[in-house]
């Protein structure tokens, strides 16, 4: 290798090194955020007490940490990771910076599934039935988009338009059901749309983890194809990517991740849109790094938002779906103002 090429190689390696560092830093920040979250709560334990209760049975505190705080925080991190990851995948396959897990109507479909169960099957907030309803409708909406993409073309425009049409359809159906429902049912529905982490238990965490962490390696293995897709379908095709199949499998995988993220907790908006953009601004658009770091940034956002939501009006808890926007929007504006160039 010539000297110039050697320099180039080193510079690329150095940049990749910086990105790896950001990845490690994000993991570290998330860990810190989770520990801080563990220490915040109505029963007022210090760091030492919390750590002691984590490791050995200290009676009441042990119960609070293991049954209330830890599951809540792990759920927050998982959901945030899923939404951040799904957001970056949707943006990549749809080639659209406005895409998020909710752009294709996935959120509305899930909401409609939850509403249907609450109205017609008795509901009871956050039971498995509501989750199953949300989950099934999410998959149904993904299937609908795929069906249209199969029949017409799998272009990003077709998919986005189908998704938006679907979003309106499910929103209307949800409104109709709310209109028909009783006061209590409507209250429950509204609460679902706020999102809530308060009833996350270990079994729910297990299921969520499966839905989010199983598709993750597959999506990560497609990182290079996502990079190529950014320069257009034609270029990607000419470089050996089966664009149609990539788009379809990725939409299914990302929908599954989204469903996993929201079926037990309700709609936590904004994270899926903003986490990928925050990440892009910091490390650029290489999906090898973008996918995992978006997930970590999403996790951090939700964990921090949840901690704030529990402490601002303690002992009142502000629903997570509301706080994420309060935390995310100012930060997002800040980055938007600060950035030097159009990065998408």
């Amino acid at each position: 290798m010539s000297a110039t090429a050697e320099t180039l190689y080193r510079r690329y390696k150095a940049r990749a090194g910086v990105k790896t560092l950001v990845l490690v830093l994000a993991v570290f920040l998330l860990a810190v955020g989770m520990v801080v979250g563990l220490c915040v709560g109505a029963s007022g334990m210090g760091l030492g007490q919390v750590l002691a209760s984590l490791l050995k049975d200290t009676g009441r505190d042990h119960g609070i940490v293991w049954l209330i705080r830890l599951p809540r925080i792990i759920m927050a991190a998982l959901v945030g990771f899923g939404l951040g990851l799904a957001g970056s995948v949707f943006q990549a396959v749809l080639r659209n910076p406005l895409a998020s897990p909710f752009t294709l109507g996935v959120g509305s479909a899930a909401g409609f599934g939850a509403v249907s169960v609450i109205l017609f099957m008795g509901g009871g907030f956050q039971t498995y039935r509501v989750a199953a309803g949300a989950f099934l409708l999410t998959l149904l909406s993904a299937a609908l988009i795929l069906a249209v993409a199969r029949m017409k073309s799998a272009s990003s425009e077709t998919m986005i338009l189908t998704g938006i049409a679907q979003m309106f359809l499910f929103s209307s159906l949800t409104s109709l059901f709310q209109y028909m429902g009783t006061m209590e049912q409507v209250h429950e529905v509204v609460f679902w749309f706020f999102g809530s982490l308060s009833k996350a238990g270990w079994p729910e965490i297990g299921l969520t983890a499966i839905m989010i962490l199983v598709p993750f390696p597959f999506l990560l293995s497609r990182a290079w194809d996502f990079n190529l897709l950014a320069s257009g379908d034609d270029s990607a095709l000419a470089l050996g990517v089966n664009v149609k199949r990539l788009r379809m499998t990725s939409v299914v995988a990302a929908s599954l991740v989204t469903a996993g993220g929201i079926c037990f907790t309700g709609v936590i908006g904004f994270v899926g849109l903003v986490a990928p953009h925050i990440t892009r601004m910091v490390i650029g658009n290489d999906h090898q790094f973008l996918l995992p770091v978006s997930g970590l940034v999403g996790a951090l956002l939700v964990v921090v938002a949840d901690t704030l939501g529990r402490s601002i009006w303690a002992p009142q808890v502000i629903p997570i779906g509301i706080v994420t926007s309060f935390v995310g929007v100012p930060f997002f504006f800040y980055l938007l103002m600060k950035r030097s160039k159009e990065y998408w």
Binding site: L8, Y9, L239, R280
Partner: protein
């Protein structure tokens, strides 16, 4: 030898390409010329299988490309599209590196990175390597796209109007680079071209398309004649030979012929191409 035989392409029931036959050997440049909508871009896209030909075959060294996987095909054919801005911008290095995709399994190997660095140096893009693509001029961006195709280590280059958005100097520079690659590395090149002067000067063979059919096929001297230009483009032109080059001087629009065999309106052009 890259060879196209009896290639047909229909788009939405409309015949866009009909019975096209052409070929190019390593070390030669084939230019595809013709007015807007004649099917230049479509032909290129059919060869790289961005579009699926309705009938006919494309062979590389006597192997049917139909039987190759996309990945394998990408090791033979390097496609240089017209420069369109990417959605989420990558750096020059990352863009050239993406040409290694046909060889990358999970993540780029050291070889991939070294090859990328080598191509960037070869193309004199080292100063721009860490810059974002959307910060480049049209000429620079076009060069990067060519570099990406070189990183593919393909034997044939397919270039869709490589000079379309470039100024005079960059047009010549681009074509000189291509000519040098073809000669030094024994690559074959197929270019869709608008500019007849440049096409005549830089091509060994010219395929002139007219309404999706092969109109003429031969050396620049045989194909680029006032008669053919009048028939295909509907333009009166003077063609002179000077300093060893053909000079084509468009004079005026030809009077539309009274009857049937007119150059007709441009045909619909599929695949979003703007040829």
């Amino acid at each position: 030898m890259l060879e196209v035989t009896h290639l047909h392409f229909d788009y939405g029931g409309v015949r866009v390409l009909e019975d096209i036959g052409a070929g190019v050997d390593k070390g030669l440049v084939l230019s595809v010329v013709g007015p807007n909508g004649a099917g230049k871009t479509t032909l290129l896209k059919c060869i790289v299988r961005i579009l699926q030909p309705t009938a006919g075959s494309v062979r590389i060294d006597d192997r049917e490309t139909r039987r190759m996987s996309r990945r394998e095909l990408a090791r033979h054919l390097g496609y240089v599209p017209q420069n369109t801005p990417a959605r989420f911008s990558a750096t020059v290095f990352e863009t050239v590196l993406s040409g290694r995709r046909p060889y990358i399994a999970w993540r780029p190997s050291r070889t991939d990175l070294e090859r990328t660095a080598g191509v960037i140096e070869e193309m004199n893009l080292a100063d721009l390597a860490m810059r974002d693509m959307d910060r480049l001029s049209g000429g620079q961006a076009q060069k990067v796209l060519l570099a990406r195709a070189l990183a593919q280590d393909a034997h044939y280059l397919l270039l869709d109007e490589p000079t379309s958005s470039l100024d005079l100097r960059h047009q010549l520079e681009m074509l000189e680079i291509i000519a040098a690659l073809v000669k030094d590395k024994r690559m074959g090149a197929v270019m869709a071209m608008h500019d007849l002067n440049l096409a005549a000067r830089f091509s060994d063979v010219i395929l002139m398309l007219h309404q999706g059919r092969t109109f003429r096929w031969g050396t620049p001297l045989e194909v680029i004649t006032p008669e053919n230009i009048r028939e295909v483009y509907g333009v009166e032109a003077a063609v002179r030979r000077e300093n060893g080059y053909l000079h084509i001087q468009p004079l005026r629009c030809a009077d539309p012929p009274a009857s049937g065999k007119s150059p007709g309106p441009p045909q619909p052009n599929p695949g979003g191409s703007r040829s």
